[in-house]
C-alpha cells in the first residue's frame, strides 16, 4: 500500500498533549508498518521487473508510451500543479531547491524554520519530502512503471538513492531517468547562460514542453457509474486508486478543458470521494465534510499531512529556566532542536533525540512541557496579564494552563477546571512539576460555570471537540465520527461557550476577553459556535494577535457568517505544519445578557412588508422559544400577535416560502439578519 508511513520515523515517547491520542496513533502506525512496508517493497521490485519487460517489448498501447514520454516532465508539472499552495513555499523545478525547502511549513515559517545541521537536514528532508511527493508520485511506480522517476519513490531507501549516492551512477539509471537528467542539465545550462533575468522565459519553455506532453497524455476516463459502484464494492489495489485520485484531481482542477463531455463535475467528485475514503481509509461522512471544507487539491494535501506526525514541540517553562539554557542542556543530551518560530519565544522543535524527551531529568524537573505548537496559540491569543483572574475551562492535561501561569509569572489566580477526574490527575501532576503555584484545580462540568464562580478577567475555552484537526495523532477519528458526534460536540461547545462568556467580567480593567479554540477544523464546531455566541451574548470578535494562520470563514457553502469572523484564525496541518486548530478571541463589552425577544422584534420590524418572512421565521423561532427558558411570555405573545392563519401558512408552505425567501434574499443580499433567520432554521 502506498501509505506515507515511514519505518524510520521514530515513535514519539513520553506524555504530551493528548498523549492518549498519540499512543493511539503509534499503535496505528505500528499496525500499518507491519503490513505495509514489505508489501510496498515487493510491489516496487515487481513493477520494476515489469517495467524492464515492457521496455523490451513493443509498447502496444498508446498510453504506455505516453506515460513513458511523460515521465520526463510530468512530475515537475505535477509539482507545479499541486504545490502552488504554500506547502513547499518554493516553486522551483530544481531538485536541489526542493530539497532545501521544508515541506509542510508555510512560506513565512519556512524562513525561520531552517534546519540546524546540514547533515541531518538531508535525512530530515527525505522524511519530510515524502509527504507531498509520495502522494503524487508514488503510485506511478507500481501502476504505470515509472518508479524510476526521481520524484516518486516507493520508500525512503529509494529516495535516498535518488538524492544521494546512486544519482551519480549512470549505469543504474534507466533510459527515462537519463532523459530527465539531460533535460535538467539543459535547463541548468540555459539558466546559467541566460542568467536569472530570463528565468521566466526558461520556465515558459519548460511549461510549453510540459503542455506538449500533456496533450499527448491520455485523458482521464471517468468510469461509468456502474463501474464506480463496482469499484466501491471491490476495492482494488491502492496504487490504482491513487493513480485515479491523481488523475481525477488533475481533471477537476481544469475541469473545462479536461472533462469528458457528458460527465458532470458531480460524478468526478463522487468518484474522488470514494477513492479518497478508500485510499486514506476515512469514513464517508468525514471525507464528505472535508471535501466541503477544502478545494480538491488542498484536500489531498490535508489528507496527506494527516498521515504523518507533526514535529514534536516543547515549550520552555520560563518559571524555571530560559530557552537558551534549556536548548543548550538538551543539545548536550543529544537532542536535535530548533526554535519553534519567530512567533514563539518559548517553543522548541525537536527533530530527533537520542533520549526520550518525556523522561529527561529536565523534563521531570519541569524545565519544559511537551506541547503541540498549535496549543501555544490560544494562550498567546489570550495574552494573560499579571495579577489577573483567569479561568481555563477545559484544562486537561494542563499545558495551556501552565503556559498561562508562566506568562503571568505565577501571579494572579488561575482556576483550572476540567470535567474529567482522571485527566485532572495529569493536570495536577503537570502543574506541580512545572512549579505553578497560582492555580486552583476544580472538577466541575464547565456548563455550571457562572454559578460556581464568575467575574474572571479572561477565560480560555479549549472546548472538547471531534478532533478533526488531530487526525495524525488519533487515526480512529477518520472512521468513528458521524454526524451525530459533530452535532453533539457543537451543542456542548455552544453551551460551554455561553457559560464561558458569562464567566467573564466585561468591566474588568485589564481583561474582559475570552478565547475559544478547538482542535477541530469543521465549520460546525468553530464558526457556527462563534457565530452563535456573537448572536447570544454581548461579545465581539477581536484580532487574536496571531499574525499567521488562515482567516475564519465568513461564508461557507450556503451559510453566511458575521464578517468579523475573519478575525478568527484557522490552522491546518498541511499549511502550518501544526495540528488543525481554530482560535477565536472575543471581547465582552457588556455583562448584560441580551434577550432574544429584541431580535424577534427587530425582525418583525424590519420586514413588515414581506408576508412570508415573518411566517418563515415564526416556525423556527417558536422552536427556539421552546428550547430556551430565558424567553419570557413576551415571545409567545409576539407570536400570538401573528394570525394563526399566517402562522399555519408559514409552516405549511415552507418550501414555497423558502423559494420566495431566496428571491427576497437576492433582492437584499448581504443582510446579516437574513442569515440569522437561516441559521435559526438550520441551527435549531
Amino acid at each position: 500500500m502506498g501509505r506515507k508511513l515511514d519505518a524510520s520515523r521514530k515513535e514519539k515517547r513520553g506524555p504530551g498533549r493528548k498523549s492518549r491520542k498519540q499512543k493511539g496513533a503509534e499503535a496505528e502506525l505500528a499496525h500499518f508498518l507491519a503490513a505495509d512496508v514489505p508489501a510496498s517493497k515487493r510491489l516496487c521490485s515487481r513493477s520494476r521487473r515489469r517495467a524492464a519487460k515492457r521496455c523490451q517489448e513493443l509498447p502496444t498501447p498508446v498510453d504506455k508510451a505516453n506515460a513513458d514520454h511523460q515521465e520526463l516532465s510530468a512530475p515537475q508539472d505535477k509539482k507545479k500543479d499541486f504545490h502552488q499552495k504554500p506547502i513547499t513555499g518554493k516553486k522551483t523545478h530544481e531538485m536541489q531547491h526542493q530539497k532545501a525547502s521544508i515541506l509542510g511549513f508555510s512560506d513565512e515559517n519556512a524562513e525561520w524554520l531552517t534546519l540546524a545541521k546540514r547533515k541531518r537536514l538531508q535525512s530530515e528532508e527525505s522524511k519530510e519530502e515524502e509527504c507531498p511527493e509520495l502522494g503524487y508520485g508514488s503510485e506511478e511506480d507500481s501502476v504505470s512503471d515509472n518508479e524510476h522517476l526521481s520524484l516518486g519513490s516507493g520508500d525512503a531507501e529509494e529516495m535516498v538513492d535518488d538524492y544521494g549516492t546512486s544519482s551519480n551512477s549512470e549505469s543504474e539509471q534507466l533510459p527515462i531517468e537519463k532523459a530527465a537528467r539531460k533535460l535538467k542539465l539543459l535547463q541548468e545550462k540555459k539558466g546559467s547562460r541566460q542568467g536569472s533575468s530570463s528565468r521566466d522565459d526558461n520556465d515558459d519553455a519548460v511549461a510549453s514542453d510540459l503542455a506538449l506532453n500533456m496533450d499527448v497524455e491520455e485523458a482521464f476516463v471517468l468510469p461509468s457509474s456502474q463501474a464506480i459502484q463496482e469499484i466501491s464494492l471491490h476495492p482494488t489495489d491502492l496504487h490504482v486508486i491513487h493513480q485515479r485520485i491523481r488523475d481525477n484531481v488533475e481533471v477537476l482542477q481544469n475541469f473545462a478543458t479536461r472533462r469528458e463531455a457528458e460527465r458532470t463535475r458531480q460524478e468526478y467528485l463522487t468518484l474522488l470521494r470514494k477513492d479518497l475514503a478508500v485510499y486514506f481509509s476515512y469514513g464517508d461522512y468525514l471525507i464528505e465534510k472535508l471535501m466541503e471544507l477544502f478545494p480538491v487539491s488542498e484536500l489531498v494535501d490535508f489528507l496527506e499531512a494527516n498521515e504523518v506526525q507533526r514535529p514534536m514541540t516543547i515549550r520552555t517553562n520560563t518559571l524555571k529556566t530560559r530557552r537558551r539554557d534549556l536548548a543548550q542542556v538538551l543539545i548536550n543530551r543529544g537532542v536535535n532542536l530548533d526554535p519553534l518560530g519567530k512567533w514563539s519565544k518559548t517553543g522548541l522543535v525537536i527533530y530527533d533525540s537520542s533520549v526520550p524527551i518525556g523522561a529527561t531529568p529536565e523534563y521531570l524537573a519541569g524545565h519544559y512541557m511537551l506541547q503541540g505548537a498549535s496549543s501555544l496559540l490560544p494562550v498567546m491569543a489570550l495574552a494573560p496579564q499579571e495579577n489577573e483572574k483567569i479561568l481555563d475551562m477545559c484544562c486537561a492535561p494542563g499545558g495551556k494552563t501552565s503556559y498561562i501561569a508562566q506568562l503571568m509569572k505565577n501571579t494572579g489566580m488561575i482556576l483550572a477546571n476540567d470535567a474529567n477526574t482522571e485527566r485532572l490527575k495529569s493536570v495536577v501532576g503537570n502543574l506541580h512539576r512545572l512549579g505553578v503555584t497560582n492555580t486552583v484545580v476544580s472538577n466541575y462540568d464547565g456548563r455550571q460555570f457562572p454559578k460556581v464562580l464568575g467575574g474572571f478577567d479572561r477565560v480560555l475555552l479549549d472546548a472538547p471537540c471531534s478532533g478533526t484537526g488531530v487526525i495524525s495523532k488519533d487515526p480512529m477519528i477518520k472512521t468513528n465520527k458521524v454526524e451525530v458526534d459533530l452535532q453533539r460536540c457543537a451543542h456542548l461547545q455552544k453551551e460551554l461557550l455561553l457559560s464561558a462568556i458569562d464567566s467573564v467580567d466585561a468591566n474588568s480593567e485589564t481583561g474582559g476577553y475570552l478565547v475559544y479554540c478547538t482542535c477541530s477544523i469543521t465549520v460546525e464546531e468553530n464558526e457556527w459556535v462563534t457565530e452563535y455566541a456573537l448572536k447570544k451574548r454581548n461579545v465581539k470578535l477581536v484580532p487574536t494577535g496571531l499574525d499567521f494562520g488562515k482567516e475564519g470563514f465568513t461564508r461557507f457553502r450556503e451559510r453566511r457568517f458575521h464578517p468579523s469572523l475573519k478575525l478568527a484564525r484557522r490552522f491546518y496541518p498541511h499549511t502550518h505544519n501544526m495540528d488543525g486548530f481554530y482560535v477565536a478571541k472575543f471581547k465582552k463589552f457588556s455583562n448584560m445578557i441580551p434577550k432574544l425577544v429584541k431580535e424577534v422584534d427587530s425582525v418583525l420590524a424590519t420586514e413588515p412588508t414581506s408576508l412570508d418572512i415573518p411566517a418563515a421565521v415564526a416556525a423556527p423561532a417558536a422552536k427556539q422559544v421552546k428550547n430556551s427558558k430565558d424567553q419570557g411570555l413576551e415571545v409567545n405573545e409576539q407570536f400570538n400577535g401573528l394570525s394563526p392563519a399566517q402562522h399555519k401558512t408559514g409552516v405549511k408552505c415552507k418550501r414555497k416560502s423558502a423559494m420566495q425567501k431566496r428571491l427576497h434574499r437576492k433582492s437584499t443580499a448581504g443582510k446579516a439578519k437574513k442569515h440569522m433567520y437561516k441559521k435559526f432554521k438550520k441551527g435549531n
Binding site: 524537573a365 490527575k425 495529569s426 501532576g429 502543574l431 506541580h432 512539576r433 492555580t439 484545580v441 476544580s442
Partner: protein, 220 residues
C-alpha cells in the same frame, strides 16, 4: 436502673460497670465524626502543624520561617483531602468558592497525613525544599537515572555532599547541573562517606521527580 441501687455500686467496682444499654451512647463511634471533619478544607491543628514542621525541618531547618512569614504575601497551610497545601491567601479565597468534592488541588501540595496521623512529604514539595535545603547531595550524571527510578543513592554515584551532614539527616538530592532531583535521608554522615565501599548506600531514597511520571495517579 443500676445507679438506683446504691448497694450495687458498693458490690461492683464502678470501673467495671458493664452498662449494657447505655453503651451505645457512651461509646459513640468516633470514626464517623472524624471522617466528616477530615473532608472539609481547614487549617492544620497544632498537632498537625507540629508534625508538618518537624518533617520539614529535617530538610530545611529553621528556614521554615521563610515559608511561614513571606514578604510577598500571606501564605498558609491548609488541609484538604488529608493533603497539606501551601497556598497564598488570595488563592485560598478563590478556592473557597469551590465545593469540597469538586476541589482537586490548590497551590502547592506538600504532602499528606497518613491514617495514623503521620506526615509524608511528597515530591511536589521539592520546589520549596530545594531552595532552602541545608544539606545537599549531588549525584553523578550516571547515577541520576537510577535515582529517578526510585533507587537509593550509592557511594559510586555520589558527586558531592554538604560538609558535616549527620547520619539520618534529611538531604535534597541534586544532579551535577544543579537540578533538584528529589530528597532522601543520609544513610551515613559525611565523614563516614569518605571511607565507604562503592556499592554502599549513601542516601536513602524518599521521593524523586521521576514520580511525576511513575506515580502520576497518586501524586497529590
Amino acid at each position: 436502673m443500676l445507679s438506683s441501687s446504691t448497694s450495687t455500686a458498693a458490690i461492683l467496682d464502678a470501673s467495671r460497670l458493664p452498662l449494657p444499654l447505655s453503651r451505645p451512647f457512651l461509646f459513640r463511634p468516633g470514626a464517623s465524626s472524624a471522617c466528616l471533619a477530615e473532608r472539609r478544607m481547614r487549617p492544620l491543628t497544632e498537632e498537625e502543624t507540629r508534625a508538618l514542621f518537624e518533617r520539614l525541618s529535617k530538610y530545611i531547618g529553621e528556614n521554615i520561617k521563610l515559608l511561614v512569614d513571606r514578604p510577598d504575601g500571606t501564605y498558609c497551610f491548609r488541609l484538604h483531602n488529608e493533603r497539606v497545601y501551601y497556598v497564598s491567601e488570595k488563592i485560598l479565597k478563590l478556592a473557597t468558592s469551590i465545593a469540597r468534592e469538586k476541589l482537586v488541588s490548590l497551590g502547592t501540595c506538600f504532602g499528606k497525613f497518613t491514617k495514623s496521623q503521620k506526615f509524608r512529604l511528597h515530591i511536589t514539595a521539592l520546589d520549596y525544599l530545594a531552595p532552602y535545603a541545608k544539606y545537599k547531595i549531588w549525584v553523578k550524571p550516571g547515577a541520576e537515572q537510577s535515582f529517578l527510578y526510585g533507587n537509593h543513592v550509592l557511594k559510586s554515584g555520589l558527586g558531592r555532599i554538604t560538609e558535616n551532614t549527620n547520619q539520618y539527616q534529611g538531604v535534597v538530592v541534586y544532579s551535577m547541573s544543579d537540578i533538584p532531583l528529589g530528597f532522601g535521608v543520609a544513610a551515613k554522615s559525611t565523614q563516614e562517606c569518605r571511607k565507604l565501599d562503592p556499592m554502599a548506600i549513601v542516601v536513602f531514597h524518599q521521593a524523586d521527580i521521576g514520580e511525576y511520571v511513575r506515580h502520576e495517579e497518586t501524586l497529590t
